[in-house]
Amino acid sequence: MRAASIFFPTPFDIFTRSAELWLSGPPSRLFLTDTVFRDILPSMLRLLSGWCAAVLVGVPLGILIGRSRYSSDILDPPLQFLRAIPGPALIPVFIILLGTESTMRIVLIAFGSLWPILLNTIEGIRTVDPVQLDTARVFGLPRPARLWRIILPAAMPKIFAGMRVSLALAVILMVVSELVASTSGIGYRIQNAQIMFLLTDMWCGIVLLALLGYTLNWLFLKLEDRALNWHRGARGRATR
């Protein structure tokens, strides 16, 4: 039975419409259409900027909190409180403070994806093997070397786990941010298509998001694989 539902277009319909929407541009622009440059690329740029900002803030802050009892005592309560705020609830605040341009969306993405990175970094730093730290001290490694050569590499598997969880969160927050007060982006296109009852276009956007999330995760796993090759090897050996 193949009911021609207008609510659920067939995958073939979605596929052909996607090609039409995004890949029917002039050859001089690699066949990419205007909307790719107006919506998809800005979305991805916001996503990656927000996520990178979260990494750049979360990892150093996590190291600080993980290493120092003092900063942990001071920073932990406010951070636990901030962490409890659902990111999207801050959209109205961010709109007032930062306007409706990309900055607001990037900040929202960064805020939401900060927490898994921060908490995993703290956890990773705190659980470095004391034997490794003793070894470093006995062999006279100066403090900065202990951080770069021992503590950070040891915490890397947990930091990467946090970064990967955050990447998925960043995709969600990107879409949510684009559903509100926006004029461009994948989220905006999906919502716009729904309002104009272009349901195939709406589904195209959703499928694109799925592909985007899948690809980002895959790319990140590849990166993780390269960076933490030793970890897989060491763990595989231990559990064999």
Binding site: Q132, D134, F139, A145, W230, G233, A234, R237
Partner: protein
């Protein structure tokens, strides 16, 4: 070279690990520290390494009072798999401490290959520690210590986590590198055979809070042999002497205890 005077350590007022230890180690000696489990052997070794500030007494290494990790000291830990860094290769592990010493890169490379050769791991520099067996990993840890050119090598139950054959090999290796690299070794062990077989002197500790029960010189001829030495009468006598001290420790005199 190493002087321990009236060493006392309490983790908490009611938890005294070391009551009162005094002994000396001369340059070039191999000294074993044995005692019943939980007698503060590891605490003592950490204090010697400067990793732990004892609550009383004094440790001097090469004439200097130990406050913090002294120079010229290396350590081999029992947990080789946790002490080696799994994210770098064997040679990088051995080389790492040298990067922060006044040693140029040519000398570094030389020392790495020299010490890997001394422990019989010449061809394994590019492997990762976790690709090697337990015994080989402990050899890497020993090589790392040797490349550091320490005056004093501390070993914390270094052969406790490997199989019996490997253990015998590593014991002979320790004796061999002492001669080759001209170092002093202080070794903590719970194995009486090992202590007597390896050492020039065995320091026997009582149960916690520990004191020195006896210091037993072992003047068995060197080089020693796993089978011949362990079969000779003198070895067996020393072995029994140490064993008797550990099995039935005379109650430490409470009257002398510091409060």
């Amino acid at each position: 070279m190493l002087v321990v005077q009236g060493l006392h350590h309490a983790y908490a007022p009611a938890q005294v690990a070391i009551r009162d230890l005094s002994f000396e180690v001369s340059a070039g000696e191999i000294v074993s520290i044995v005692g019943p489990s939980g007698c503060g052997k590891t605490t003592l070794l950490k204090a010697l390494a400067g990793l732990l500030a004892p609550t009383g007494g004094m440790i001097r290494f090469q004439g200097q009072v130990v406050r913090g990790v002294p120079e010229g000291l290396a350590m081999v830990f029992q947990e080789y798999s946790r002490s080696l860094l799994p994210w770098t290769t064997v040679s990088a592990n051995v080389e790492l401490p040298l990067r922060y010493q006044p040693v140029d890169s040519i000398e570094r490379t030389n020392r790495v290959s020299e010490s890997l050769q001394a422990v019989g791991l010449s061809g394994f520099g590019d492997r990762y520690p976790w690709q090697l067996s337990g015994g080989m990993q402990q050899r890497v840890a020993i090589a790392r210590a040797l490349a550091y050119h320490p005056k004093l090598l501390l070993m914390d139950e270094p052969f406790a986590s490997v199989d019996a054959q490997t253990r015998a090999d590593l014991e002979d290796l320790a004796a061999a590198v002492r001669d080759q690299f001209d170092i002093t070794i202080v070794l903590v062990t719970h194995d009486i055979d090992e202590a007597v077989y390896l050492s020039d002197r065995v320091v026997v500790l009582s149960g916690a809070p520990s004191i020195v029960l006896a210091q037993i010189p072992v003047d068995l001829p060197r080089p020693r042999d796993q089978i011949a030495t362990k079969a000779c009468e003198q070895f067996v006598a020393k072995r029994s002497e140490v064993a008797r001290l550990i099995r039935r420790p005379p109650a430490p005199k409470v009257a002398n205890a510091p409060i």
